[in-house]
């Protein structure tokens, strides 16, 4: 399993080539505008590159059949939940790649597979009592910021991806919740997401102090790959260089 990418796109990203291997937990660092979101969007296939290629298990993700696409899961920075739909329908939309149009239509009529939905919501860290009190039928717009984040995470779990890409999942959360969410994402415990099929995870973030929880750190600067090393070898000097130089 490897993801490789090279070639510039616009002026945001210069030539980048990197691979992600099974079992890795990678932190993606860089200042705002360094190209982290762009890199993740390209890696996930929602942004097309002019040159170069993204390969997933040896196949280009552009020509890859769509059932393989669902093996790459993404947690967007602005979540991209569908506000007009209920929590349950949003969670189930993660599973749309596994089902046909009829299932998609049925999901709009009534929440299909409610138990799977609830399971994912619980694993994403939502309060079981809240779920039982009809959270599934609540529209997204009634939710708080932290709850939305968790619904998006539940959608990701429902997708059962092999690789998780998360774009600043903790940027807008208070430190306690952020830490808890990161725990959920990185947890290797039996109930953690990495245990339900996801074999690797890439998370972009702004908190260098958290990198010790990861296996590997990638640093971007002005669209260029400037750092790629195991997190144990990371020094404070490396980090300050990444965040200071203009």
């Amino acid at each position: 399993m490897n993801v490789s990418l090279s070639g510039p796109r616009g002026d945001r990203l210069r030539s980048i080539s990197l691979s992600v291997f099974e079992g890795e937990r990678i932190a993606l660092l860089g200042r705002s505008g360094a190209g982290k979101s762009t890199l993740l969007a390209i890696a996930n296939g929602s942004l097309r590159v002019d040159k170069g290629e993204v390969r997933w298990r040896g196949a280009s993700i552009r020509t890859m059949p769509r059932r393989n696409k669902r093996e790459i899961g993404m947690l967007w920075q602005d979540l991209l939940l569908v506000e007009e739909l209920s929590v349950g329908q949003n969670v189930n939309s993660g599973a749309l790649g596994r089902h046909n149009l009829i299932w998609g239509l049925a999901n709009l009529l009534f929440n299909v597979d409610q138990s799977a939905c609830k399971h994912c919501l619980q694993r994403a860290g939502l309060d079981a009592g809240l779920i039982e009190r009809g959270l599934i039928d609540a529209p997204i717009r009634q939710l708080s910021g932290g709850q939305r984040q968790r619904v998006a995470l539940a959608r990701l779990l429902r997708q059962q991806p092999q690789l998780i890409l998360a774009d600043e999942p903790i940027a807008n959360l208070d430190p306690a919740i952020a830490s808890e969410l990161l725990d959920h994402l990185l947890n290797r415990a039996p109930e953690g997401p990495l245990n339900c099929g996801a074999k690797a995870i890439v998370i972009s973030l702004h908190q260098p102090e958290l990198v010790q929880r990861f296996d590997r750190v990638i640093g971007l600067q002005d669209g260029e790959l400037v750092m790629d090393q195991p997190s144990e070898q990371l020094t404070a000097a490396d980090l300050s260089r990444l965040y200071e130089a203009g």
């Binding site: 996930n44 296939g45 929602s46 769509r66 059932r67 393989n68 696409k69 669902r70 093996e71 790459i72 899961g73 993404m74 967007w76 602005d78 991209l80 569908v82 506000e83 007009e84 739909l85 209920s86 329908q89 939309s93 993660g94 749309l96 790649g97 596994r98 046909n100 149009l101 998609g104 239509l105 709009l108 009529l109 009534f110 929440n111 299909v112 409610q114 039928d137 529209p139 997708q159």
Partner: protein, 509 residues
């Protein structure tokens, strides 16, 4: 326990179920007897009549139509915005006043909206005689009420937090409203207001009632006498005008940016609407100068209580109301459900362009022509009427839907696609879902229009309230006219409260 609760995007698709019974009836009634006339009709498209007399008449008619459309459009926007603001709860709350007058006004505005402009024309004609301004008023009255409803709905459903912040900061309510709600409402005004101009242009058939001629009258009379070549001359001219208008509006929309520039555009649009109205006035005076004789009130007979009673007992009310409701529900189902269904079937840009062209055709062909064409190869039935009205209005709905979809970001669709969903599903979840609530709101307004339009399908068999209204008007049976209009108002009001309730039940909770 799974509760059956259709989500917004599905609610836009479900009305298309109306197609099933309609198509079954249409299919079983299909016959080839009208093929020769169809052939004549289609051949007429290639050889429209180019006789100088006719061209001159069409040219003159075009001028009258354009001038009246501009004037009535400008008036309906002006009054629509004023009335719509007056019946919005948020406006009354800004002055810390109770909101019941707004509710009352809102219910009252259902009356002008419930009556077709043709009927307004005939009623006003009774008391004012033939006068171009009366014709303009007949178009502007129902249109103002319609614009008022849309304006009010958007005002009340907008985000009120910035407004509340300004009010609590002690800003004068007028400037607070202007500052807080202007940007969003300006977009509504430009997008919906621009589209109303096309409606005003098409509805100018009414001008013939006032002896003003006009393109619509030309179309109506050539259709009645089945002069297809002459009919096509008018149709092509109408198509050209609609196309030019569409291009101008698109050009305008593409130019309007965001921020300060956008604000300026909106102000400019408002000014332009008023200026065009003034131009329309002078233009009309210039084209038909000798029809502007003095405008005076001419009395008419008011039906007495006993006459009303007699009329109430002689007409088959239940059957008429049921037929009208059936026709409206089927037609509205087709009009609302068909566009999203068609787009869903094959969500590719090329197919969407095809759909867009098809809908332009549907809007372009006047409903009476559509009914006649369908009826030439089918047995008369309610389904034919529903199909004709539904198809015509699906053109309008399709246009609004595509426009809304184009203005919307496709990030969610991309996200779903990246999760491995199919094209159709990612379009349905990612693009149609966010658009659904406003599309359904427009669908509710369209149902109002469709209810009024049931007036035009007497040819499928004289039945329903619409036909009875025309029959009573042509018999000058005012008691029956009053009662049928009351029925229309009642249906409109109950339809409105039903759709409000459905929306709050399905979309908000």
């Amino acid at each position: 326990m799974n509760r059956l609760k259709p989500a917004a995007p599905l609610l836009t698709l479900l009305p298309a179920m109306a197609l099933v019974p309609v198509l079954i009836v249409t299919w079983t009634g299909l016959h080839g007897g009208g093929l020769s006339i169809w052939q004549q009709f289609l051949l007429g498209a290639l050889h429209p009549s180019l006789e100088p007399d006719l061209l001159q008449a069409v040219w003159h008619g075009l001028g009258v139509t354009m001038a009246t459309a501009l004037l009535s459009w400008s008036l309906s926007l002006l009054f629509g915005v004023l009335l719509g603001s007056a019946c919005a709860d948020v406006v009354w709350r800004s002055w810390s006043l109770p909101t019941w007058p707004a509710t009352g006004l809102r219910r009252g505005l259902a009356i002008p909206r419930a009556v077709h402009e043709l009927v307004w024309g005939l009623l006003l004609l009774q008391v004012f005689g033939l006068h171009p301004y009366v014709a303009v008023a007949a178009i502007a009255i129902p249109y103002s009420a319609l614009v008022a409803r849309i304006w009010r709905d958007h005002l009340d459903s907008a985000d009120h937090r910035p407004l509340d912040a300004l009010i609590s900061a002690g800003v004068h309510p007028v400037s607070a409203l202007m500052t807080a709600l202007n940007p969003g409402m300006g977009t509504v005004l430009m997008s919906y207001g621009g589209y109303r101009l096309e409606c005003a242009l098409r509805s100018a058939t009414l001008l013939g009632v006032f002896g003003l001629g006009g393109l619509g009258t030309e179309l109506q009379l050539t259709l009645q006498s089945l002069q297809f070549r002459e009919l096509w001359t008018g149709l092509w001219v109408l198509a050209a005008v609609m196309l030019i208008l569409e291009q101008l509006l698109r050009f305008w929309r593409e130019r309007s940016g965001v921020g300060v520039h956008g604000q300026r555009r909106i102000l400019l649009f408002g000014t332009l609407a008023i200026v065009l109205g003034v131009i329309g006035t002078f233009w009309l005076r210039h084209i038909v100068p000798d029809q502007f004789s003095g405008l005076s009130w001419i009395g008419m007979e008011v039906p007495s209580w006993t006459q009303l009673n007699a009329a109430a007992t002689e007409l088959p009310w239940l059957r008429m109301i049921l037929e009208t409701l059936g026709l409206t529900v089927l037609a509205a189902g087709i009009a609302i459900g068909l566009p999203p269904l068609a787009l869903l079937l094959w969500p590719s840009p090329r197919w969407h362009r095809c759909c867009s062209m098809f809908w332009a055709c549907m809007r372009w062909i006047p409903p009476p022509l559509m009914v006649l064409l369908l009826l030439l190869s089918n047995r008369p039935s309610l389904a034919i009427g529903a199909l004709a009205i539904g198809l015509h209005n699906s053109g309008v709905m399709g246009r609004l839907l595509l426009e809304g979809l184009q203005q919307q970001s496709d990030l969610r669709q991309e996200a779903l696609r990246a999760m491995g969903s199919s094209e159709r599903i990612s379009w349905l979840y990612g693009l149609l879902s966010p658009q659904s609530p406003s599309y359904l709101a427009y669908g509710a307004y369209r149902s109002d229009v469709i209810l009024r339009e049931t007036v035009v399908v007497g040819v499928i068999g004289g039945s329903g309230l619409g036909w009875q209204l025309l029959e009573s008007l042509s018999s000058f049976h005012w008691a029956a006219v009053v009662l049928v209009l009351c029925c229309y108002c009642a249906l409109t009001i109950s339809g409105e409260s039903l759709s409000d309730r459905c929306r709050s039940l399905w979309l908000q909770s």
